[in-house]
Structure formats: structure tokens, C-alpha cells
């Protein structure tokens, strides 16, 4: 076998190997059912982004194979064998054969400056068109606008059903952002403490939540479903546990969900487990957690100033101050729990609230309490920092309640179960 043929065989087999690897990777990528995948968008914006980048991935892949192929080809074609001792008569080489001493070629240099420039210029045109198209989204006044507020380490959603973010929100929820399917929903992204980033990969790219700033963003889902998200700007200790879910419901179901969310909760009857739970809750939890119609500034010790204040230092709504709507709706250091049982996850979406619940079940208040993830919920109430790291001493994260007896915790869970 001539040297050349040998090199050819080597090259071919290498390319085949590389091709196989690429095929494996591509098959993994294409058939992926990863809940946070950017590769299988379900929303208009996510799809626009994918349609922009996928051809560029292909171009990059072609360049990749050209360069790597060139490296391998040069390797096999121009490699000279010899001892590695370096004791050759002519320095490292064993002979005095020199290749042609080419110093350069201006035409080539100009060519390989201009060709990539033109290629990138074309790509930049597509990029700019897509960029401004994605940015050019304004919700009309009547549409729902959700103020999304990041804080360590969960998300608050304030729903403005009339689209007016200057007026009080109609209701406030946490961690699970419920939207009607097929509609562009405008988001107004803010932060109460450090920088976070709101990201539902299947629907759209991410947008930072920067304290003191308000960022417009938009998401849309083509079909009903639960779409997972993750805070993607490092935000301190429990950053990894700061997740969220966007839930797209069919229009009619969204209306049903919305009508339920507007309602307030009721104080349970005294003497029942739920009633005892409420008593414990109002002592231990109501300082930070709001439940519309049940807690108020008065419940939180009566003195708004006694409420923790490290969490709202940068918030538009500066936390509990007696006599404003924020008292009733906007949670303090902790999520508003008015309709806790209509959510699929809790604690910054770090844990599932129901096990094996169907996709739409909790949102429409249809969840079977038997599927409640009771052990996780109880463990969370008993010692939250152990389940999800927190600087609870600095009021960043939920403090442990290890003083509570198992009965107390059962009762609190019984009370929470009424929040549907």
C-alpha cells in the first residue's frame, strides 16, 4: 500500500468515525425531550430564534469539518517519520531536505479575509432583522401584562388583567406563570434584590431582572403544556434552586383559572386541623407570607415596620406599609400563598407539589389531594434551609421551624390544603 493510499484510508476512517459521532449527537439532540431544551421550541419567539440559529449552526459545522479535515489531511500528507531523539545531524531532522520556503501569498490572505467577512455580513443581516423583529412586541392596553419580580430565590407574578402596570395588580402568584395558549403575553421583569434572569427556554430566550430597572419581555406558547425554566443569572447561595414554570392553558381554562385566582381565601373553622394549622400559620408564617383575605398587615404583628425589610430594598412596591393594596396582595419575603394548591411546584419550583399529577390538573383546582407531595411539603415547613440552602438568618430564604411538632406541621399542611 502506497503511503498516499494509506493516508487516504486513515483519513476516510477518521471521517467516518467523526461522522458517526456527529450522527449520534444529532440524533440525541433531535429526539430530545428535555424539559428545558432550546432545541425544541414551542413558542413563536423560541421558534424564531431556532430558525435563525439552526442554519448558522450548519454553516459553523461545515467550517468545523473543513478546518479539522484540513488539519488531519495536512497531518497525514506532510508528516515525516524519524527518530524522536532530536539527535539528527540537522537539528531535530535527520536530513537536510527542506520544503519550498513559502513566505506568504497576499492574494490568498486577502481572499480569506474577504470571504469570511462577506459570509458574516450576510449572517449579520439576518441577525439584525430577527433581533429587531423579536424586540418589536408591544402588548395592547387590554392585554394581560404580568409583572415578573425575581428575588432570592423565587419568582413573584403580579397579574394586571387590564394591561396597566401602574395600577394595583388583580392578583399575585408565585413560581408558576400561567398564560393563555397562543397569545403574546407581555412581561415586565424586575428584581427586588440582586440580578436574576427569567428564562423559559422552550418559549423564548432569557431576560435579566435587574434591580432598579424594568425590562419588557414577551412569551407565547403554541400549545398547552408545562414549560420549565431556571434563573440564569447567578443570584447567590440558592441560585441553582431558583426555578420556575410557565403553564400554557387553553383560553377557556385560562379564564377559569384567572377567575379563581381573583378570589380570596377563607379563614378555616376553629377546632378543625385546618383551623389549628391556621393558628400556627398566623404565628409562624404570616409575617412573610400573604394569603388574600386571611392575612394582612395586622396579622403580621400589627406593626408594618416589624416586618422583615431586607427583601424589598429595591422593589417597586416597598413591602408592607399599612393601608396600601400591597399589604393585601404582594407577598413579603415569601410567596403569596392564596391559591397554593393550584400550583404544581413550590419553593421556587425546586419541588413538586403533586406527584404524578396530570399536566393541567392543579391549575384548575382539580388536583387529587392524595397525590399531594406531603412528605416534601412537611420537610420543607420543618426545615427549609436543609432542603434548599438559604441565608435564613439574614431573612434570605425561609427559616427553619424545627420548633414545630409533627402535629403542628400536619395541621399547617391541612390548612395549606384548603388554599385552592
Amino acid at each position: 500500500m502506497s503511503k498516499r493510499l494509506k493516508a487516504l484510508v486513515w483519513l476516510t476512517s477518521l471521517l467516518i468515525t467523526a461522522g458517526t459521532v456527529v450522527l449520534i449527537v444529532v440524533s440525541i439532540v433531535v429526539t430530545d425531550d428535555h424539559p428545558l431544551s432550546t432545541l425544541s421550541p414551542v413558542g413563536r419567539q423560541g421558534r424564531d430564534i431556532a430558525e435563525l440559529i439552526n442554519p448558522i449552526f450548519i454553516v459553523a459545522g461545515v467550517v468545523f469539518f473543513l478546518v479539522q479535515g484540513a488539519v488531519l489531511a495536512l497531518w497525514w500528507r506532510y508528516r515525516v517519520a524519524g527518530s524522536d531523539s532530536g539527535d539528527g545531524e540537522f537539528g531535530y531532522y535527520d536530513d537536510d531536505e527542506f520544503p519550498e520556503q513559502t513566505h506568504g501569498n497576499n492574494r490568498l490572505e486577502i481572499a480569506w479575509t474577504i470571504v469570511p467577512t462577506v459570509l458574516l455580513a450576510v449572517i449579520s443581516v439576518f441577525t439584525l432583522v430577527a433581533l429587531f423583529a423579536l424586540d418589536d412586541v408591544k402588548a395592547s392596553d387590554e392585554d394581560v401584562v404580568v409583572t415578573v419580580i425575581g428575588q432570592q430565590w423565587w419568582w413573584e407574578y403580579q397579574y394586571h388583567l387590564d394591561g396597566n402596570t401602574d395600577s394595583p395588580p388583580d392578583f399575585v402568584t408565585a413560581n408558576e406563570l400561567v398564560i393563555p395558549v397562543g397569545v403574546d403575553i407581555a412581561l415586565d421583569i424586575k428584581s427586588r434584590d440582586v440580578i436574576h434572569s427569567f428564562w423559559i427556554p422552550k418559549l423564548n430566550g432569557k431576560r435579566d431582572a435587574v434591580p432598579g430597572r424594568s425590562h419588557d419581555w414577551v412569551i407565547q406558547a403554541d400549545e398547552p403544556g408545562r414549560f420549565r425554566g431556571q434563573c440564569t443569572e447567578f443570584c447567590g447561595l440558592s441560585h441553582g434552586y431558583m426555578k420556575m414554570v410557565a403553564v400554557a392553558l387553553p383560553t377557556a381554562e385560562f379564564a377559569q383559572w384567572r377567575d379563581n385566582q381573583i378570589t380570596s381565601a377563607d379563614i378555616p373553622q376553629e377546632g378543625t386541623p385546618a383551623g389549628d394549622g391556621w393558628a400556627t400559620f398566623s404565628q409562624q408564617c404570616a409575617n412573610c407570607h400573604v394569603i388574600n383575605g386571611v392575612t394582612s398587615a395586622a396579622n403580621r404583628g400589627g406593626d408594618p415596620e416589624s416586618a422583615p425589610d431586607s427583601w424589598d430594598i429595591y422593589g417597586e412596591f416597598n413591602g408592607p406599609s399599612a393601608g396600601t393594596y400591597t399589604d393585601e396582595l404582594v407577598a413579603g419575603a415569601a410567596p403569596n400563598l392564596t391559591h397554593l394548591m393550584t400550583r404544581g411546584t413550590f419553593a421556587g419550583s425546586a419541588f413538586d407539589l403533586y406527584l404524578n399529577a396530570g399536566d393541567h390538573v392543579p391549575y384548575l383546582n382539580l388536583a387529587d389531594q392524595a397525590t399531594l407531595n406531603r412528605s416534601e411539603l412537611e420537610a420543607w415547613i420543618y426545615n427549609a434551609p436543609e432542603r434548599k440552602p438559604a441565608d435564613a438568618d439574614d431573612l434570605r430564604g425561609m427559616p427553619a421551624r424545627t420548633g414545630l411538632s409533627p402535629t403542628d406541621i400536619d395541621n399547617v399542611v391541612a390548612f395549606l390544603s384548603t388554599l385552592d
Binding site: L36, D96, S238
Partner: protein, 694 residues
Amino acid sequence: MTVTDRTITAPEETLALPAGPAIAHRPLGVFTRPQGSEGWRSWLFTVDHKRIGIMYGAAALFFFLVGGAEALFIRLQLATPNGSVIGAGTYNGVFTMHGVTMVFLVIMPMAAAFANYLLPLQVGARDVAFPRLNAFSFWCFLAGGMLLTSSILVGGWFQNAPDGGWFAYAPNTGLLFSPSKGIDFYAVGLQILGIASLVSAINLIVTVLNMRTPGMSFFRMPVLTWMLLITQFLLLFALPVITVALFLLMFDRLWDANFFNVEAGADPLLWQHLFWIFGHPEVYILILPAFGIVSEIIPTFSRKPLFGYHFMVASGIAIGFMGWGVWAHHMFTSGVGPLSVAAFSVSTMFIAVPTGVKILNWLATMYRGRLRFTTPMLYAVGVVSMFTIGGLSGVTHSIAPSDTQQTDTYYIVAHFHYVIFGGALLGLFGGFYYWWPKAFGYKLNEGWGKASFWVMLIGFNFTFGPMHILGLQGMSRRIATYRADEGFALWNMVATISSFVIALGVLMFFWNVYVSTRNWKRAGRPDVGPDPWDARGLEWMTASPVPEHNFDEDIEVDRLDHFWHRKYGKDENGRIVRAAPTSEIAHDGSNTNVHLPSPSYWPIVLGGGILLVGYGIIYNLWLAAAGLVFLVASIYGWILEPADDPDAAGHHDDHGDDHGGDDHGDPDSNGGPSGNGESATADEPAETEEATVG
């Protein structure tokens, strides 16, 4: 073959310094200069650029082990879903320290090692422009590195380590959100490292601009010298920006300033702009020295000159300039507005062009070459191959809409590891193998070298390759753990296993150093010769290891790759033939009559003073005040110490009089044909030789 028609023998009377007033040898009676070049003490007080370079390299390798261990802890924590190996708090400290260590304590000082060792040699100088200042740079760097690394240990394991990410975004790094001492260590440590880099940058810029040997015009400088020069300019302009940012952060944390206090009206994007105006040029600070190294290695082992030398230099300069106009691509999701995003998106795209030019020129150098795949060549070609991957993923980031999906995911982690590990670190390791015989007089073992390269390369690709997939599948950066149902388990496990393969490759490198040294000593320390690879640069034109005085006489350079053209010429048929044996061309280091700068106590003392001030700022201002007194006193010591120790044995008083300070000008300026060159160093004018070349 005579290559020069000009001797640079200057008239004797212009060489001797004019007699000036004698300066007391021992002002205050205590200031003398240390003596000798043997033993550990001579390393502490050395001002020799080569020893300083070696110490930079050794320190960088030590910190590389620290940063590498941190990387392994990251991988262990992420190996499985709901990982609990080190926990979220420690994890945040570990990944922050991993990034800070690898950027500031590994890649930058490794590049500084090559810059210190090679830059004066490549331009044919005796030493750097300011030798004592050079020693100070190293000790200051070591002080900053020790201070930063000590944060891992003080007050408990990772209790006071920086935990805000290497980018330390405000306001998460404010006292309210990061109450430990970690960010103070970060701010003070980087500040000290900044001083070291800044001083070194000025020193090396002056060295290249003023101290090139006669005939060494700018376009006769090796590409490595060019890339290092560009790097120093980037440092010179980038470091002040991070210095300002770190001062603001330090004032916020220590003295209740409000630069990043949103409640008081601050915009946290201020930090992001300042950090990335520094941070993006920093990326080129990391990669350009490796580009230079690759540009030295590939021609040597292709037996061809570098293809498109001028374009390689120009593309390096272009990268240096364009690197200032792309910083906001780190901020595509920060809310800087669509117009800014569009501008930075386009500028970022086009920075790929000069980088692509480099890749293609390397390939063109190899084309029709006689390629010898020695260990350095393997690393260099590894850079060409791996950096291309990082460069291509970099282009995909510049597509701003798509970057909103990719930023802060593992896709980015994959990208910059392909650039910084696959580009910078592989290049620097290639440099270790390539210049090891020059610095130590023996080669590292080729067998172990090649094995270690392949192990490292395979481990590298299976660690960071899968991270592209993880990122596109939605795995975020800097998360301490992930849920089991997010589908990240498989590739994380692959990455973790492979990271230990990298570690094995690195250990094989250290083993190679041990084995090669041992074998060389057992063999009776054979001489490797001045030019073991048949290379092209001036550094190969003197003995290995390089004698303290570098060259026996000034070299007059008449073209690019001067040394190679002294070795080879063309016969009447145009065929390349040996013109002269290397032994006749290269200097053997036998000239003992060369005046060298004396060692000095003060650079290391001054570094110690800075360390005290650093800890003082973090813990107790009285300590800082004491450190400041110490520091000022050592500056006075520095100023007052004599240029030589008159009592030193073997001292030859060729100045007629001792003169104070290092930095007096050289009255004798023998510019080269280009008019750019100044002879030897300002410190050590080539007084003793009658330099005749040819």
C-alpha cells in the same frame, strides 16, 4: 556566510559613563546589595528576567493544581442530579475560585513566564528595561495570588472564599448579599494582581520599544514578541478599568459607599460595563500569548517560515483593537437596549475574521511542510484544532437573539473552555515542552509528553464537548445542582469522568518533568545544545540553559528569522544548504566579562509590604497602616540602595563610579539600520564587548 557588513564597535570613550559625583556605597550604613547567584537566597533577590520567568511558571503551575482541584470538586458536585458532595455554599466559592484562579493565577502568569523569559531573548536584549521592577512584579503577583488563595482557608474551609462568580456582578457582591470576607479578598487580591500586571506590562513594553538589538526593526520581531507586546498594551489599557471597578466595589463594601446601591439610585449595569470593558480584552490577553507560541512552534516543525508573517502580526493587532469594541456581547440579556445589542452583535461577529486569518495561516504554514509531530507540535496543532471549535461557537454567541438562549448556560462554559483550555492552556503547555530545553538544558521526555498530550486532549474533549449539548438542552451555569427530571444526568456524568482523565494527563506532565530531570541527571547532565529543535528565533542562538548574561555579544539582525538565515543559505542551484554549523553561530556563554544588574533585597520586601496592606484592608486598618509604613520604607530602601555592592566578590567596577538606581539612560545609542533599535539595555549598556557579528 557573512550577513553583516557592519560591526557595532562604538568608540571606547562614548561607552564609559561620564564620571559623576560618587554616591555613598552604604547610605545610612545598612543598604547593600545581595550577592551571588547560587542557593535559594539568590532566587529571592534575583532580578534576572530568566529566573523571574521560571518563578512565574512554577507559581502558575502550583496555582494550576489548586484551580484544577477546584474544577474536580465542581465536577464531582455535578456528577449526578441533586448532588451533595460539597453543597451549594461551598460550590459557589469553589466555582468562583476556579475561575479567578485559572484566569488570574494560571493563564496570565504562565504567559508572563514566557514573556519574561523569552521577550528579552527574542529581541536580543540583556534583560528587561527595569530589572528590579520586574522582580517586584513577580513578588507582587505572588502576594496577590497568596492572598486570594488564602481565602479558601481563613476562617474555615471556603467560609471566606469569594462567592460571587469571577464576574462578581453587583449588587450580589454587596455586603448585604455577600456578608463573608470573600468579596473583599476578591477585590483586594485582584487589585494587587493588577498592580503586578500593570508594572510588568510597562516594563515589557519599554523593553520591546527601546531595547531591541541593532537591526531588530518591528517587522523583524518574532510573532511571539508581537503577540506579547499587544498583550501588554491590552493589559496597560484594560487594568485601569478593572482597578476603578474594584475600587468602587471595595469602597461600597468597606466604607459604605453607594456606587452599586440601587436603593440610593445606582444602576448595577455600571459594574457590568466596567467589568466587561476590562473582561473582554482580558480574553485576548489570555489567548494572544498562546497564538504567539503556536506561531513559533508550527514553523519550526514544518521546516518552513511562518506563512503570512505580516498578516499574522496585523491580525493580532486587529484583534487587539477590535477587542475593545465587543464587551457588551456579555450583556445581551442585561437590558442595554436593542440598538446596543445590534451594534455589539455585529462587532463581535467580525472579530472572527482576524482570528480566522490566523488559523488559515497556520494551516498554510503546515501545507507542503515537513511536519514533525513532536510534543510541542502536537500541542500547537491541538490549539489550531480546538481553538477553531471555540471560535466557531463564539460566532454563534454573536447572534444576539440566539445568545439570549445560550448565555449563562453550559454552552458558554463549553465555548470558553475550548478557547481558554483548548486555546491558551494547550498553547502554553506546548510552550513548556518547546522552550524547556532552552531554560533547563534538557528536553522533556517525548514519550511521556505525547502520552500526556493525548490523554489531556481526549479528556478535554469528553469533558467540555458534551457541555455544548448540555447548554443547548438548557442547563444553566453556576447552578450547584439540577433536578433528576431535567435530563442532564448522562452528559454530566460523562463530563465528570472525563475531567479526571484531564487530571491524569496533567499528572503525567508533572511526572514527565520529574522523570526527565532524573534521567538527565543520571546521564551526567548532557548538553542539549543551543538549538535542539533547529529553530528560528534569537533565543536559540545562545547556550542552553541561557547564561545569566543572555548573549556573549550584541547580535546585529538583518532580517526576520535572523538565526535561521545564519544557519542556512542557498547553493547555486537554489537548494537550501547548511551555511554554518550551529556551534559556530550560537554563543556559548563563555563571555564572563559582562556587567549585570546586581540582585536586590527590595522587590520581595516591597511585595511583602503590599501583602500586609492587603490583609490590613480586609481585616484591620491598623495592620494596613503598618503595612503602608513598611511599604514606604521599602520604597526608600529601593531608592537608596547602591547600584552594586562594592564588596561583592568578582565585582568589576567598569562604571568608574557606582551610580544610583537602575534606570539611568544609556548615553550610547547605536540604532540599527531600521532606526528602531537601541543597543542592549538601558541598565546594562553593552560596554564590555566589541560586538562583531558575522
